[in-house]
Amino acid sequence: MKILVCITHVPDTTAKISFTDDNTKFNSDGVQYIIGPYDDYALARAVELKEASGGTVTVLNVGTSETEPTIRKALAIGADDAIRIDAEPTDSYFVAEQIANHAKDAGYDLIMMGRESIDFNGGMVHGMVGELLGLPAISPVMKLDIEGQTAKLAREIEGGKEYLELDLPFIAGCQEPIAEWKIPNMRGIMSARSKKLEVLAPSDASEAVKLQQYELPPAKGDVKMIDADNVGELVKLLKNEAKVI
């Protein structure tokens, strides 16, 4: 089976978010970058599927050369080779077109992505790629098993789960508990260095959304502490001050 996993290169989940240049640029000072947590689940499941029934796992990122350490990490986790499409991923539609243009004739049986990126939280690239390729795109997928040409999966819906069946090829936007995050071991890290990382020029694509300016939310006010023996006081505050009950 030939699997493509699309990964993002995003600030670590504990990173402090700030901006520079009159709030037009992300401040990457002191920020650690990681594989998007949801993409990491997709990658972990892809590697499991390959280990169980053979095939290859290719990782793809649309990004500048800064993302290469993150791509190498995905290779260390168990992907066989990698592709970087050399462009700034400014708009989801642009990214989706890049991925679709690459995947169109590449013969993947399965394209796995994260449920959403943790920088722009769009949750849309998989659906767009699905439409561009004329394939089903299912998200968020919590369970994915493949038997022959048929996949059985569970998708999260509000208040529960839904079980689906469909034929390959298709696109899955993944989330936990599809697999456990894999930590690269020494052998993986060593072998990642010599695995192929191909850099491709972006295809012509349009940009539909343009960034104007970033903004931080207003600072939170102080916390009001209430004595544990005085829950009546809390009830009054919730009722009369916050007016939420």
Partner: protein, 318 residues
């Protein structure tokens, strides 16, 4: 010109988030048509009028009963064409997001989700979207003629003027290929308050010690009419179902009040709750980081404080 709003229904009612989407479109100052998909009572759909829709298109085909992404996207795109609508508005949801993404690719439309406010049309067309899981916002310009706006909860105030919309049957043209994905079953709690929509949320963390202690969380939630949530380790260990997991990698909530009990307040958890209006934290450790993100706090043992709080709330209700 009109704006089309995709409205979802659950358990025979239009979802509140969808009614908010209708109010959002109405506040943009144009005629609003809604589209509802799958079997649901006509009288229920009329209520979209109260939120600001003049008309509801209804694709009632029973084949569309369950939320199938591809046919839904096709139905919506066809409805936009029929109405000549250049803008689609919908609420963020596990169905709405993937459906809108497909509509965007079909119509070559800009799609922005997690929009937190009405568009600014003073020069061009720009919207404010939440990014970095609620830790920041981005103001972005949508440059295409056709636009899709996915709104976050509380982006506008829900309008309720008691008006009624007319309901019109809509017959989309679909073929078998649109139904390649088979939904074999659904496993869903009926009658439960949906976490992403909830106005009040009571959430428990590892400090609750075990699933056998969730009774007090449920009692408190029931007393308030709140949904229940939990931290990631709690759903990882299987104390609670996965769809209750709140945070960066789970459900993002925006209730009026979020009550966190025995949750430390790790940054990944906070990312899922930072758009709550008020936060109440109950934790036995006064150093717990959650207190600095809270509006109200009690330092104390949950096993003591929570039952007392439930009693006090019950007393206040009577």
């Amino acid at each position: 010109m009109s704006i089309l709003v995709f409205i979802e229904h659950a358990e025979g009612e239009i979802k509140k988030s969808s009614l908010e989407a209708v109010s959002y479109a109405a506040a943009m100052g144009e005629d609003v048509t809604a589209i509802a998909i799958g079997p649901v009572e006509e009288s229920v759909l009329k209520a979209a009028g109260s939120a600001g829709a003049s008309k509801v298109l209804h694709a009632a085909d029973s084949k569309l009963e369950k939320g199938l992404i591809q046919p839904y996207a096709k139905v919506i795109a066809q409805a936009m064409e029929k109405e000549g609508a250049k803008t689609l508005v919908l609420a963020k949801s596990s169905l709405g997001d993937p459906v809108a993404a497909r509509v965007a690719a079909k119509m070559k439309a800009a799609f922005v989700s997690n929009v937190a406010d009405l568009p600014d049309t003073s020069s061009g067309f720009s919207v404010k979207r939440s990014i970095y899981t609620g830790k920041a916002f981005a103001n972005v310009e949508m440059t295409t003629e056709t636009k899709i706006i996915g709104i976050k909860k509380n982006a506008v105030e829900l309008k309720e003027d008691g008006g009624e919309a007319s309901v019109e049957a809509f017959e989309p043209s679909l073929d078998d290929a649109d139904f390649a994905v088979k939904i074999t079953s659904q496993d869903k709690q009926e009658g439960e308050i949906l976490l992403p929509e909830a106005e009040l949320v009571v959430s428990g963390g590892r400090g609750m010690k075990g699933p056998e202690n969730w009774g007090m969380i449920e009692d408190l939630a029931k007393t308030l009419g709140a949904a229940t949530g939990c931290s990631k380790p709690v759903s990882d260990i299987g104390w609670r179902p996965h769809h209750e997991h709140v945070g960066q990698t789970g459900v993002k909530v925006s209730p009026q009040l979020y009550i966190a009990i025995g949750i430390s307040g790790a940054i990944q958890h906070l990312a899922g709750v930072n758009s709550s209006k008020y936060i109440l934290v109950i934790n036995k450790d006064e150093e717990a980081p959650f207190f600095s993100a809270a509006d109200y706090g009690i330092v104390g043992d949950a096993f003591d404080v929570v039952p007392k709080l439930t009693e006090a709330l019950k007393a206040a209700q009577n």
